[in-house]
C-alpha cells in the first residue's frame, strides 16, 4: 500500500469506529439519563447515610439496645424499624411493616459484616460494624416476605434470616408507646 492510497481508506475505517463509539455513547447516555431521572423524580438512591456507631457498646444503651428494637411509630406518624444483625440471627426475628407507607429500616452489627435484602422488594443494604445502615422504602404488596443475611458472616450464615410481615394499613395498629410486634415471638 503506497502512502497516498492508504490515507483516505485508513481514515474511513477510523470514521466508522468513531461513528460506532458515538452511537454507543448515545445509548450509555440514555441509560444514565434513566438513572438521573429516577433519582430526581422518585428519590431513588443506593442506601448510604455514613453514620458511625461503636459496635462494641451497641447492646448497653442507646438506639440499638434490646428493648428498643422492632417497629416503632413516632408521633409524626413516621415508621422506623430498628434491627440488629448479629452472628447468625436477626433481633427481632419477625418485623411488622405497613403497606404503602414510607418505612425507615435502621440496621447495626455488633460483630462482623452482614447484609440484608427483603425478597420481592428493593430493600437491600450491607451492614458494616462501625456504621448504622439506613434504608427507606415503600412496601407495595402485603404478605410475609423473607429477609435473609446475604453476606458471608460465619458458619451459621445460611440459617440467618428473618420474616418481614407487610400488613395492610388497616391492620397496622401501634400500641400505647408506638410499638408494633409480630404475633408469634
Amino acid at each position: 500500500m503506497t502512502e497516498q492510497h492508504a490515507q483516505p481508506h485508513e481514515r474511513r475505517i477510523l470514521g466508522t469506529e468513531l461513528l460506532w463509539a458515538f452511537g454507543v455513547g448515545v445509548l450509555i447516555a440514555a441509560i444514565l439519563s434513566v438513572v438521573v431521572f429516577t433519582a430526581l423524580t422518585r428519590d431513588i438512591n443506593p442506601p448510604s447515610n455514613v453514620e458511625r456507631i461503636d459496635p462494641k457498646t451497641l447492646h448497653l444503651s442507646g438506639e440499638f439496645a434490646e428493648q428498643n428494637l422492632g417497629t416503632t411509630v413516632a408521633r409524626d406518624g413516621g415508621v422506623t424499624v430498628r434491627i440488629i444483625t448479629t452472628q447468625f440471627m436477626f433481633a427481632p426475628r419477625c418485623l411488622v411493616v405497613p403497606e404503602g407507607r414510607r418505612v425507615t429500616l435502621r440496621f447495626a452489627s455488633p460483630d462482623v459484616i452482614h447484609g440484608i435484602l427483603i425478597t420481592g422488594t428493593n430493600v437491600n443494604t450491607m451492614v458494616v460494624p462501625g456504621f448504622v445502615a439506613q434504608v427507606y422504602s415503600e412496601f407495595t404488596h402485603s404478605g410475609d416476605l423473607l429477609m435473609p443475611c446475604h453476606e458471608y458472616c460465619g458458619l451459621g450464615h445460611s440459617e440467618m434470616w428473618a420474616t418481614v410481615r407487610v400488613v395492610p394499613e388497616s391492620e397496622f395498629k401501634p400500641d400505647l408507646d408506638g410499638r408494633v410486634a409480630c404475633a408469634q415471638r
Binding site: M1, H9, E10, I13, L14, T16, E17, W20, A21, V24, I28, I31, L32, V35, T38, A39, N45, P46, P47, S48, N49, V50, E51, R52, D54, P55, K56, Q87, D111, V112, I113, G115, L117, I118, T119, G120, N122, N124, T125, M126, V127, V128, P129, G130, F131, A133, V135, L145, L146, C149, H150, E151, Y152, C153, G154, L155, H157, S158, E159, W161
Partner: protein, 538 residues
C-alpha cells in the same frame, strides 16, 4: 521460541490443575445446595470449598495463565528471546510457595473467609501471607514485561510495538496499579490483625481498599481474552484485523477506566455518600465503552474473513466463517456469553437498581458468564492455539476441541440463566443449605437442580479440556509452524507516542484515582470509624 517453552508450560499446567480442582469443587457445591444434596456436607466443608473454589479460579488459574501467556507473547510477538529468564523462574517459584501457603490453611479449614476475605472475620496469617507471595511473584512478571517492551523499543525506534505485546504490557501496568489496594489492606490491616497485633480492625476502610483491587482485577483476567480477540481470532478466521489503532485505544481505555471504578462494588455500603457512588456509576458506564468497541472491531474483522471466503449480503459472511476452527468457534460462543454477562452488568451498575440484585444469584450469574464464560473459554482457545508450538505436536483432529468448547458454553448457559431468575426472586449468595420448607424458597428447588445439571456439563467439559491438552504431549504429528498474530487491514507505519507507551495514561490514572478514591479513603483517616472486634476463624 526454544527458550520459554518449559517456562510457559509450567505456568499453564499449574493454572489448569487449579482450574480442574476448582471445577470439581464448584460442581460439589452446586449439588450440596440443591434439593438432591439437602443434608450432604456441613457448613464448614461448604465454606471451605467456596474459599478454595474462589482462590483457585480467581488467583491461581488467572495469575499463572496470564504470566505464562505474557512470556509467550513477549517472545513470539517481539520475535526475540525473553530478557531475565532467571527472574521469570524465580517469580514462578515465589508464586508457587504463595499458592501452597494459601491452600494449606484453606484445606485445614483455617481460612474459610472466602476469596474476598471479609474482615473482621480473620483467617490464619499463612493464608494472607501466601496471597502476598503470589502477588509478589506476579509483580516480577510485570517488571519483565516492561523491560522486554523497553528493550524492543530501544532496538526499533519509531516502530509501533506489536499489538499483542502492547496489550500485555498494558495489562501489567494495570496489575501494578490495582494490586496496591489489596497490598495496603493486607500489610497494614489484615495480616497484623491475624497475627494478633491488634484486637480491632476498621471494616469500612478494609472494604474500600479491597474494592480498589476488586474491579480492575476483573480486567486483568479479561485482557488476555481480548488479546486473543484482536490478534488470534482474525488470523484463525483467515481475515485481517479491522483497525489496529482502535485495538491500542481499547486497551488504553481499559487501563484508564477500570481502575477508578472499583467502588461500584460498594454501592450498597453504609460507609460512602451518594455523590461518590454516582461518580462510580458514571465511570462504570464508560468502562463498557472499550468492550463495546471490541465487539464492533472484532466482528468487523470476522466480517472481512467471512466475505473473503465468499460470504454475500448483510449476514452471509457469518455462515461463511470457518466455524470448525476452535479459535473462531470460541470467539463466537464467547461473544454470546459476553452479551448475557454484559446485560447483567448494566443492571448491576444502575445506581438505585443495584438494590434489586446486590448479593443475589443475579450477580453470581453475571461474573460466571463474563469471567467463567467468555474469558475462560478464550483461555481454552489460546491454550489450543499455542499448545502445538509449546509441545512440538499438533492436534490430531479439532473435533474433541470443538466438543469441549460447546460443552463449556452449554453448561455455562444452563447453569447461569436460572440464576438470573432466582436472583430477581431474592435468592441470596453463599448458602450452605437452603430451607426448602420455606414457601418462598421451595419454589427455587427445581431451578437449582437445572443449574446443577449445567454444573455437571461444565465438569465434563473441564475434564475433556485437560485431556485434550495432555494427549498433545505425546501426540504423533509434528507441529507445523503457524503464524499466530493477525495483520491489520492497514499495518501501522507510525503510531503516536500516546499509542505506543503508557506515560500519558499513567498520569491520567493517577488523577482519576485521586478524584474517585481520594476522599473515600481519606475519610477513614480524618474520622476513623469505631474499631470492630476481630473474629478469628483459625
Amino acid at each position: 521460541m526454544r527458550n520459554v517453552e518449559r517456562l510457559c508450560l509450567a505456568h499453564f499446567w499449574v493454572a489448569f490443575a487449579a482450574f480442574l480442582a476448582a471445577a470439581v469443587l464448584g460442581t460439589w457445591q452446586m449439588w450440596v445446595r440443591s434439593p438432591l444434596g439437602a443434608n450432604v456436607g456441613t457448613p464448614g466443608q461448604y465454606f471451605l470449598s467456596v474459599t478454595a473454589h474462589g482462590v483457585s479460579m480467581a488467583y491461581v488459574l488467572t495469575i499463572f495463565f496470564i504470566m505464562g501467556f505474557g512470556y509467550f507473547v513477549a517472545v513470539t510477538a517481539l520475535g526475540r528471546p525473553l530478557p531475565g529468564k532467571l527472574w521469570a523462574w524465580i517469580a514462578f517459584w515465589i508464586a508457587i510457595i504463595g499458592v501452597v501457603m494459601a491452600l494449606v490453611p484453606i484445606l485445614m479449614g483455617q481460612a474459610s473467609v472466602l476469596y474476598t476475605f471479609y474482615p473482621p472475620l480473620t483467617a490464619s496469617p499463612w493464608f494472607y501471607i501466601g496471597l502476598v507471595f503470589i502477588v509478589a511473584g506476579s509483580w516480577i512478571w510485570c517488571v519483565l514485561m516492561l523491560v522486554a517492551m523497553r528493550q524492543w523499543k530501544r532496538d526499533n525506534p519509531g516502530r509501533p510495538v506489536p499489538l499483542a505485546m502492547f496489550a500485555t504490557v498494558a495489562n501489567s501496568v494495570l496489575w501494578l496499579w490495582t494490586t496496591v489496594g489489596v497490598a495496603i489492606e493486607l500489610v497494614f490491616q489484615v495480616i497484623p490483625a491475624s497475627l494478633g497485633f491488634g484486637q480491632t480492625i476498621d471494616a469500612g476502610l478494609a472494604r474500600t481498599l479491597f474494592s480498589w483491587t476488586l474491579h480492575a482485577i476483573v480486567y486483568f483476567w479479561l485482557i488476555p481474552a481480548y488479546i486473543a480477540f484482536y490478534t488470534m481470532v482474525p488470523r484463525a478466521a483467515g481475515g485481517r484485523l479491522y483497525s489496529d489503532t482502535m485495538g491500542r485505544f481499547t486497551f488504553i481505555l481499559f487501563l484508564v477506566y477500570s481502575l477508578p471504578v472499583g467502588m461500584h462494588h460498594l454501592l450498597m455500603d453504609p460507609e460512602h455518600g451518594n455523590g461518590w457512588k454516582f461518580i462510580q456509576v458514571l465511570l462504570t458506564a464508560f468502562v463498557s465503552v472499550p468492550t463495546l468497541l471490541t465487539i464492533f472491531t472484532v466482528t468487523a474483522s470476522l466480517e472481512i474473513a467471512g466475505r473473503l471466503r465468499g460470504g454475500r449480503g448483510v449476514f452471509g459472511w457469518i455462515t461463511a466463517l470457518p466455524w470448525q476452527r476452535p479459535t473462531v468457534l470460541a470467539a463466537g460462543l464467547a461473544f454470546v456469553m459476553l452479551g448475557f454477562g454484559g446485560f447483567g452488568g448494566i443492571i448491576n451498575m444502575g445506581y438505585g437498581v443495584n438494590a434489586m440484585v446486590h448479593n443475589t444469584s443475579w450477580v453470581t450469574a453475571h461474573f460466571h458468564l463474563i469471567f467463567g464464560g467468555s474469558v475462560v473459554i478464550m483461555y481454552f482457545a489460546i491454550a489450543y492455539e499455542i499448545w502445538p508450538s509449546l509441545t512440538g505436536h499438533d492436534h490430531a483432529s479439532s473435533a474433541p476441541l470443538r466438543m469441549q468448547l460447546w460443552l463449556w458454553f452449554l453448561g455455562m448457559m444452563v447453569m447461569t440463566l436460572p440464576w438470573h431468575w432466582l436472583g430477581l426472586q431474592g435468592q441470596w449468595r453463599r448458602i450452605a443449605n437452603f430451607n426448602y420448607a420455606d414457601p418462598i424458597i421451595s419454589g427455587w428447588g427445581p431451578l437449582v437442580i437445572v443449574s446443577l445439571g449445567g454444573g455437571l456439563v461444565l465438569l465434563a467439559s473441564a475434564l475433556l479440556f485437560v485431556r485434550n491438552l495432555v494427549i498433545l504431549h505425546g501426540g504423533p504429528l509434528p507441529a507445523l509452524q503457524r503464524p499466530l498474530y493477525a495483520l491489520a487491514v492497514h499495518p501501522p507505519q507510525r503510531v503516536p507516542a500516546a499509542l505506543n507507551g503508557f506515560g500519558l495514561w499513567n498520569v491520567l490514572v493517577l488523577i482519576l484515582m485521586l478524584l474517585a478514591y481520594g476522599y473515600p479513603i481519606a475519610q477513614f483517616v480524618i474520622t476513623p470509624s469505631p474499631g470492630a472486634m476481630v473474629h478469628r476463624v483459625h
